[in-house]
Assembly symmetry: C2
DNA sequence: GTGAAAGCGCTAACAG
DNA sequence: CTGTTAGCGCTTTCAC
């Protein structure tokens, strides 16, 4: 008997169990017709040989790899770590493997996609980067569903889930206005990201509608990072280049946290007494003692759930639906960086 | 001509370019002998057809998938996010795909490993969970290298890289002692993790050697999480069950941060005036204004580098070396939670 | 329910 | 340098 070394194939198992090779295949396939006795015998033999079915080989015929690619941008933002965690948990539970990829924020995803396409993934989840229409086309032709997470490509046929970012921006504007703020700073994120743009637009539009003059809305580039938010805040206010406004809105929590640390740590500003701060995402850190940040919560679980629904892994052949764009609402989580109006 | 739909194979490209199928294969293989002219023509045809080589199929013959499995535990600990990031960056640069897997901390990795083995990964990096000798054996037999990150399995033949955790624990003990602390609390992590045990041991041993009575070293279970550290601290000190010690050592930064927030936020303790705090890892957050945590730095880049060296992806066939255990030293990063002795 | 045989898309000798 | 020919390990008709 061949010892337990090198590759053990279904043929080896078949030999040991005294059955045909196809029987072995059947024994390892849910719901294929094989007698219980034979299956048992085969599984026994397999265990004895430490046999593990080769998914790569089976993918070749089934045309399914049971792998999904997750394209990530900024893992420095805990929000996306949270998204990754949620995705892993859900996919793993379904027995789906995850091919992880990172792409510089705002850059093109073509290279990454080309690479994952080689691996014949069953689906792609894009949480970052731009998506070219060429790639959309290629994926579509190959029947590979692609879901955009928290972004959309205007005019693209790709589906996606996102938080209603514009509405969320308005929510924050209302909250700040309601707390008495009349002058504002806005920490913007990745300029190419629709997420950042939408939040910003919702926020600004609402303010403008309520009669805030544009001059009282200062825009700062925070690059979607802690350090970016920190630095932008320092740059704008430390040397009194600008008067400190009543409120600052970080397009995401991590920038808002950077701003808070700059404000309190370097400038001795009291929050919310001297200035209010709003964030967006509701990452775990936002709830911690140093921050207790009032923010707009993104329902990560709901969003990842929807993303996987859109991927529709159970219906491989299914014609890819064109451009479904799911928007889930966010809501304000009141903590201590914005005084909460009593009437709420 | 078959339109750009469905699967395009090397055969289609061959037909369009008027060459043999193997020529197409060669055109896409680095350093195989093919005339530049022919290669160009083939690449052209491929582009026209949106052809993407099927890695799954090629893996079947080459016996290499160019995929590495990364088994993760606790993504709630930013340290492991940092590790993941470093791993992704390095592997991606080498054109290696990453199969991500999470496993509950401290639990057995057998299931996860069995699953990734099906995918014929070229290597496995384990940053969490236990490794059974059975799995070690199976991987060894199949010629799949497995590298343990920041853990080791006593008596196992698996290789690994880790920070010199025991020495790091001693370093922290010295630092605290040097700053005048004489009574201590120790926030322990995952009881099954050798990492936590080693740090704890180094710390305690050093204290004991210096004449600190065991009674003055209070052990707390922090579960390796922020919430765990926070809760354990509250539980121990809030109701005066124990007097507040001179210093508290969090086996990792995230627990230390939880403790700091509990101490200052809920108990009004001043750090370091009333109590000093030490951490371990040097995660990004430790450097932020609310914390400025003095901690033992783990050199993540160096460690991931070494881990990949051990994986030795370039030498597929190479007999797996038995149990190399690389220890890289950590060092104290002085910030403000422990007063720094002047003589340093 | 079960075995034989024909591929899945590619690489790797092997001749030329 | 190039085409031909066998497989890689598995799933899947197709008869029995």
């Amino acid at each position: 008997m061949k010892p337990l070394s090198g590759r053990v194939t279904s043929l080896d198992v078949a030999a040991l169990a005294g059955v045909s090779q196809s029987a072995v295949s059947r024994a390892f396939t849910e719901g294929s017709s094989i007698s219980e006795a034979k299956r048992k015998a085969i599984l026994d033999a397999a265990l004895k040989l430490n046999y593990v079915p080769n998914s790569i080989a089976s993918s070749l015929t089934t045309r399914r790899t049971n792998m999904v690619a997750v394209i990530l941008g900024n893992l420095d933002n805990p929000f996306y770590v949270q998204v990754l965690k949620a995705l892993i948990t859900r996919l793993q539970a379904r027995g789906v493997q995850i091919l992880t990829f990172t792409v510089k924020n705002g850059s093109n995803s073509d290279d990454a996609l080309m690479r994952v396409l080689r691996y014949q993934v069953d689906g792609i989840i894009l949480t970052s980067a731009q998506l070219s229409t060429r790639m959309t086309g290629i994926c579509h032709d190959r029947g590979i569903p692609i879901v955009l997470f928290n972004r959309y490509i205007p005019g693209s046929s790709a589906s996606g889930v996102r938080c209603d970012n514009a509405a969320g921006g308005r929510l924050m504007a209302e909250a700040l206005l309601g707390a008495g703020a009349r002058s504002f700073a806005l920490l913007k994120g990745d300029p190419n990201g629709t997420t950042s743009q939408d939040r910003q637009r919702g926020f600004t539009d609402c303010l403008l509608e309520r009669g805030i003059p544009p001059a009282d809305i200062l825009e700062l580039e925070g690059q979607s990072t802690y350090d970016g938010g920190h630095a932008a805040t320092l740059r704008a206010f430390l040397d009194e280049r600008h008067p400190i406004p009543d409120a600052i809105f970080g397009i995401n929590d991590i920038m808002a946290m950077g701003a808070m640390d700059a404000l309190r740590g370097e400038m001795g500003v009291k929050i919310p007494a001297d200035l209010m701060v709003g964030g967006f995402d509701n990452i775990d850190e936002a709830d911690r003692w140093p921050y207790r940040l009032t923010t707009v919560r993104q329902p990560v679980d709901e969003m990842t759930e929807e993303a996987l629904n859109l991927l529709d892994l159970d219906n491989p052949g299914a014609a890819i639906q064109p451009g479904i764009d799911i928007k889930v609402p966010g809501r304000i989580v009141w903590r201590s960086t914005i005084p909460r109006p009593v009437d709420l």
